[in-house]
Symmetry: C2
């Protein structure tokens, strides 16, 4: 060992001290260490950070880093199976417990950090492996990173001028999706949710068939427009009829079979019926992946009918579209989708992209501009230095449009197309596993039908109802069990599975596996936890 000079040693000590300090500060910033931030950023107010003070970069970084701390802890909890999914409180109780009020005076940054913690404490962890409640589950980390960047970039998608990179990414992603549908060309847009995507399809169809409509309105059509959809469709289809002035009476529900699939012969019968009465059938919505049962309407047969009667065929694949990635599951479910005129497909559902990310695709190039352009001169001038065809604002019925592309694009880069395919196959495999496990326990569970997708429909049987013959009378009782058991799930906070009635049966459970977090163990937990919470339920 060499000898240390006194000066050298002091200088060394100083370095040590600085590094220790740095280590502590930074450990706190990254949320990994116990040593908590010693600085006083928490006592500052909004006007001590950017952009209010030019020299406020350190405080700004520190404040945001502390917020990120809170978020990283939350993400950890979301993925921790020992954590509860929710801390349920009744609305009135929650309002009393939490200070949600807006004050005249600013609150300090430390209070905002507490606000963030509080919000997350009582928020439902939709990314938890035991959350089977909604079509959108899971918390994809890469998509999350994309959404954080989107927020920092804080731009609007209407012109290339202010969103150049994101506009080009949209073009790449949407073209890829159209190709997967089976189209070489066409038009697409991202919309704020599947309902608005379906609305875009409706508007494009109406414009395509009756271009005078845009200016002259409904009165320019001889006869009343009529649209068709199955009785299992998403309610937004009916909503189009109301919004667009048809009236919901002219949105005709086509009966479905016992698996929830539209019956093509019924469709044709109803089309004929309305033609005979002088109405104008012009739009058919086929669903690929219904909300409740996960059913797929027979696209080929529907396409034949649309062709025969010159109607626009829209496929609402908001839910089922993700299966286009899977060689194994795409057929026969989505066979014929390329014959559609338009397709809705929500990456925020089966693909796990963060909310919101919904797309709608059209077979016809330029149709969105033709249909929706209002030609606002102040945005879409033609004397720009770049080709204004890159501006998307005049294609849409929104003006401001949120950047929903980056989180999807980044996720796709990270997973690769093959990663999405593996994801789809895995989800389906898990749903098949769940079906098997349900069938193995016929005393406790009753499978309602063999699903085509990751929606599994079933009843849970508490002790009171086991061993009794299955009839309509028992179904009513099983329906009553659902609300009670769901209440127990919410109160215990350990599990969330949705339930609903449909037109054939009272309440039943519909679980969804669309999160990459779920494993066979979690499926087992779902069933055993339902049994733990529900076995002693007694219904009238």
């Amino acid at each position: 060992m060499s000898k240390l000079s006194l000066d050298g040693f002091f200088s060394y000590c100083k370095q040590i001290a600085e590094h220790i300090q740095l280590g502590e500060r930074m450990a706190s910033l990254s949320g990994q260490g116990t040593p908590k931030l010693t600085s006083s950023v928490g006592n500052l107010y909004y006007d001590s950070i950017l952009p209010y003070r030019e020299d406020a970069q350190p405080q700004t970084r520190e404040f945001l880093a502390r917020v990120v701390d809170v978020l990283l802890d939350f993400i950890h909890q979301v993925n921790d199976r020992n954590e509860k999914i929710l801390e349920f409180r009744m609305p009135e109780e929650m309002s009393k417990m939490c200070d949600f009020q807006l004050h005249d005076e600013p609150l300090p940054l430390k209070q905002l950090l507490e606000d963030c913690k509080l919000a997350l404490k009582y928020q439902v962890k939709t990314g938890h492996p035991h959350f089977f409640n909604q079509l959108s589950c899971g918390l994809d980390i890469i998509s999350l990173a994309g959404e954080w960047l989107t927020a920092a970039a804080n731009t609007n998608m209407f012109t290339y001028e202010i969103a150049p990179v994101f506009i080009l990414m949209e073009n790449v992603v949407l073209e890829k999706m159209r190709n997967m549908i089976g189209w070489r060309t066409g038009d697409s847009i991202l919309a704020p949710g599947g309902s608005i995507s379906n609305l875009y399809a409706f508007l494009a169809a109406r414009h395509h068939k009756f271009p005078q409509y845009k200016e002259k309105g409904l009165s320019s059509i001889p006869g009343h427009l009529v649209m068709f959809t199955s009785d299992q469709c998403h309610y937004s289809v009916k909503s189009c009829a109301s919004v667009c002035g048809l009236g919901t009476d002219y949105c005709i529900c086509v009966p479905s079979d016992e698996r929830g699939r539209m019956i093509p012969t019924e469709l044709e019968r109803l089309v004929k019926y309305h033609k005979d009465r002088g109405n104008v059938p012009f739009f058919v919505n086929a669903t690929s992946g219904t909300t409740v049962l996960g059913a797929f309407d027979p696209l080929e047969e529907i396409a034949d009918i649309c062709q025969k009667y010159d109607m626009w065929m829209h496929v609402d694949a908001a839910w089922g579209g993700g299966l286009l990635f899977s060689k194994k599951y795409r057929h026969p479910r989505l066979t014929g989708v390329e014959r559609a005129d338009s397709v809705t497909w929500n990456p925020h559902k089966l693909m796990g992209t963060l909310l919101q990310c919904s797309t709608v695709h059209f077979k016809y190039e330029g149709i969105l501009l033709n249909c929706n352009a209002m030609s606002a001169e102040y945005l879409f001038m033609t004397d720009k230095i770049y080709d204004p065809k890159y501006d998307t604002g005049d294609k849409v019925i929104q003006c401001g449009r949120h950047n929903d592309i980056f989180k999807l694009w980044l996720q796709w880069r990270g997973k690769g197309t093959s990663g999405f395919e593996r994801h789809m196959d895995r989800l389906m495999e898990l749903a098949e596993y769940q079906v098997r496990r349900i069938k193995e326990q016929p005393d406790k569970f009753h499978l309602i039908l063999e699903p085509e997708m990751v929606n599994v429909s079933f009843w849970y049987l508490p002790k009171q109802l086991r061993g009794l013959p299955h009839d309509a009378h028992k179904e009513i009782k099983l329906g009553k069990v659902c609300a009670k058991l769901k209440g127990k799930m919410m109160q215990s906070g350990t599990l969330m599975v949705g339930y609903q009635p449909d037109d054939r049966r009272p309440n039943f459970f519909r679980s969804i596996i669309s999160s990459a977090a779920v494993t066979e163990k979690d499926v087992d937990f779902m069933l055993s936890e339902m049994d733990r919470l529900g076995q002693d339920i007694v219904v009238d």
Copy 2:
């Protein structure tokens, strides 16, 4: 100085080394230091982080911390006046320079970090103090923090069940906003942008006046519905007429005065004209803060006419609504807003909330549910354990609805109502400063009108056009200067100011001050930079 034992010294060295390592690691995590991350997280792929591996918490934190690094650097640049606003590239060039492609195979996390950097490098810095281009400018840090949390919470706003905290926050914020409009009661919703907010108002008006419309459609009305709006209104108003089946021919443009304000006598004349022809005037849109000129329609006089002819009065205050905070500027601009039936107000504009955040308010309790409910049984069951009045999904024409409230709520907590008032007064003060500075340089700038808001409309005069009399011929030349000068701004990347023509004049510049980052110095920079870039422009 005490003597060191050899063991003690070694142990001390080990501590030093660890602290140095920690310091370096964490410095990198927080993006403040040069020492870069030594770990190999970058070589990992998506399936090495959560939720794909249970033990992946450290890698996940690290990946996200590195993304945050990139974002914090970007935020620093956004606020650095020495940084350019944009690195402009033509679309074709950008597509060649950047790899936007989606591949079959996954890319490693380090590539995703590079992707993030690249996206930000070519993205326009809309929060930069020299960005005067759009109604939405600025990057509010607290709102940004709110959006990051929103992404991590990744939920949907349709039910209290899955968004309890956020639903309650919506109630608090929207009630506060209604109170500021001047209503004690009512109904409100957040929508994806002002255009959809205006669509909600149109739908509510139609439903309120003609409730049979929802089911029976347009054919149930004797006579053709007609709506009115000024010729300066946002184009989304006209779009409602197209979307909803009226036809744009039945959206009547009311002439405005030279300041861009609707002329009430003209409105009344046109209403009478259409009534006389058997049409049904039912909806008037008044604009508070027009997009181009920032004009305020005279609300009291319009309200009188609406009352007289039993028409719904909507105020599109998407842009001007923020001035409701200001005791100094609220009147006379928004005097009479409380007489409206509905009001659109976008916090993502003047209030600086991150995109998107748009609200629409109604005087009538329960109107949204009455108007839009489709009663999807699978979501909005009435046998839930909490009062289903807290579920908002059936009030809206979307189904999935993004959480746009948290970023606004947190921002409001941070600024306080008084902070928003100071913000509004400051923005107006800066616009007044800009007007003064323009008037002080009549050789270089021509003020088009005294603005009512932060929109300043003016021409820039290159040397070629100075000292010549101002006439229509010169205006055409000044119009040509705009596109050329804007091109130079884009190429130099130092400044962005928008331009457009209107129906009275060719192209002119319209600058916007809506960012809290802007100071008097930045206003001076805007004008001097325009002169630097533009003085030698020559037009035909």
